[in-house]
Amino acid sequence: MQNLEEILKAHKLTWEDYEHIKKILGREPNLVEIGIFSAMWSEHCSYKSSKKYLKGFPTEAPWVIQGPGENAGVIDIGGDMAAVFKMESHNHPSFIEPYQGAATGVGGILRDVFTMGARPVANLNALRFGEVQRDDEIGAHQRYLVRGVVAGIGGYGNCVGVPTIGGEMSFESCYNGNILVNAFSLGVCKKDEIFYGRAEGVGNPVIYVGSKTGRDGLGGAVMSSDSFTEETKKLRPTVQVGDPFTEKLLLEACMELFKTDYVIGIQDMGAAGLTSSSFEMAGRSGSGMRLWLDRVPMREEGMTPYELMLSESQERMLICAKKGTEEKVLEIFHKWDLDAEIIGEVTDTGVMELYWHGEKVAEVPVAPVSEEAPELDRPTKRPEYLDYIKETSIDTVPHVDDQEAFEKLWSSLEVVNKAWVYEQYDSMVQTNTVKHPGTLDASVIRVKENGKAIAMSSKCNPRYCYIDPKGGAAAAVMAAGRNVAMSGARPLAITDCLNYGNPENPEMMWQFAQGTEGIKEACKALNTPVVSGNVSLYNETNGVSVYPTPTIAMVGLNDDANKVLPSYFQEENDVVYIIGD
């Protein structure tokens, strides 16, 4: 291949990776294959910097049905019902285009939940912005981002008909160049009707459903690689635009499909689109797959196999169905006016074979792509600023009198009423919301099917995590757990979204290592395992990393929906206690 050096660089692959790829393939890779490895071995898909630290998370308890490794975690909530939940970041896209970035973030997390067979019943969001109160360009831009992100979260969730029942936000200068948008979704389903992202059974059809594929999200890698120049220059890297209406149709069609017994496995096409969904589905069951890429529904003309494999177009799913049911599956999706095509079949070769108009354009063994993905042990170093902080004491800060302190706190952004935000979210659709946003502490929905209530709360104090990366992360687990407990529910499990800076910076890696330690300890102490989660690294601009921000969402159960505790004083003359130190 010409200018291999640049191609590798554009795909964020090292020479070492390249040699490894050659060993796996037993030959030189072609461009499609380089694209596939690049996507699967990216930080986002392979967790190469973080895997080492995530391994120690407690993930088991009698009520855990599915821990990390699937599209979302699953816990038992009694009465034959299960809760399915996960949290995910959409930080970088939201900084570039706040409305669409946040909207597609919500879309992605919803698909992670309903791909498992659960109807999403509640969303939360955790947002970190910079200094919105500055009266300069930065302040103006931050306010623009707040408006866009909030409208985007509402715009998507409201349209799909899933209530956004709570969340949190903080404001720090470290987010001026890199805001954080974390979206959480929880769904419920029958315990014995959970679906997994698997493709198995030789000859079973692989079916593509949802929106057509465009060149969305095909940015950096291709465009900066020289071999494409003139042809692709006019095809600007495009931002992904969400289509919540299509998502709603996809949700309803999937719910209908799940009532049948046609499905072997199903997975949403999220990051790295068709590549990650097909490889993961085949990988989980040790199968191979043959895909006829020319059959993929396309939105634009002249698309290539490379683009089809890497596009991140939204609102798409991949289904492995039982042979012989394919027509019935297609019928369900056509009823909902969605595209649906048989694009491949399962094999027992353990190899992914890609065809383009009858010609084989790529052939990659499935297992090594994930099993042999690079796992890094990046250097860590205790940050120097911690020494400086250690010297600082509360006594060095000038004293403020109580009235002034009260007023200052009362008017601080962290404390002010967030109604402007949550009133843009439909928090009551589905008629289950018992504790709305604005009623403080955990948010709560009742489950009509079993009379119980699910409490959930998302927490993280970034400033605390900066001062003490381990203690801060543990405190986030504790705070979310306390919120859930204070609503009268027993905390059962967490999902997390670990937003950190650049992993190539040893100080940042140290923060990350400490943060995961803190989560481990706190989760063990509360007996609330980690059942799903997400890592977002490289949150930095011009060398400035965000504060360590491990957002924790705790989920708990209240056996009686009528016994949910409110979080505000009820009546005059009621007695007020303070418990704990």
Binding site: G154, C159, G161, Q424, M428, V429, T431, A561
Partner: protein
């Protein structure tokens, strides 16, 4: 009472509506928008809330052309009772079964919250169990609820008791969350068999959800 609830692509309150009508003991069927006919012996057709066709172009604009809407039009013409809630109201406006049109909320945002509304006229079946001037607490959730109608038509609507619900505050004083003409929250047609309102009574039918005021509204159709 037998209720048909129409499901358009993008509708998202059909099950909530069904649940609420079941609470008051009504029999419900969900009807697919591509059906040509309504089920037999229906007492009430409900167009529920949601985002039919994603609210693209204008809310309700595309749903109006669904095959089932022909049947709903005929049902209404023969005097059948039709209730449009939120997106359903928008669809009734676009279908010209009710006068006026919706614009985007004055503040351009989606607004979701509990909102007080006041009964202006109970001279119709829908609000027959309520007193004139009675104040209810019912959730609203919409981005295009800014009701507009020409002045002359509005006048005749008042004369004919067609303006039936108005936004207000806790004490019944003027409050207008979305910029609607005269803070109008709900109306009916001349014959008083087609009703539209932006608030969601089906979300206020149980104590656990914060209000039961919706019950008294939807129950009106039973008597």
């Amino acid at each position: 009472m037998k209720v048909a609830i129409i499901r358009f692509p993008g509708t998202n309150c059909e099950f909530d509506t069904e649940y609420a009508f079941n609470i008051i003991g009504a029999k419900t069927t969900i009807v697919w928008h591509k059906d040509q006919a309504l089920p037999k012996d229906i007492d009430l057709v409900v167009l529920p809330g949601g985002f039919s066709y994603g609210d693209y172009l204008r809310s309700g604009a595309i749903a109006r052309f669904s095959p089932i809407m022909q049947a709903v039009q005929e049902f209404a013409k023969k005097g059948g009772y039709v209730l449009g809630i939120c997106n359903g109201f928008q669809i009734l406006l676009e279908s010209h079964l009710l006068p006026g049109a919706m614009k985007r909320n004055e503040n351009l945002h989606f607004i979701s919250k509990f909102q007080y509304i006041k009964v202006l006229s109970n001279n119709n079946k829908f609000l027959s169990l309520l007193e004139n001037g009675e104040i209810l607490n019912i959730p609203i959730a919409h981005a295009e609820g800014n009701y507009y109608v020409q002045e002359e038509i509005l006048k005749s609507m008042y004369d004919n008791d067609q303006v039936i619900l108005q936004y207000c505050d806790k004490n019944g004083e003027y409050d207008n969350p979305n910029g609607s003409v005269d803070a109008i929250a709900g109306i009916c047609n001349k014959d008083k068999n087609v009703f539209g309102l932006m608030p969601h009574p089906e979300r206020a039918c149980e104590k656990i959800l914060g209000s039961e005021d919706g019950i008294k509204m939807i129950k009106g159709f039973m008597y």
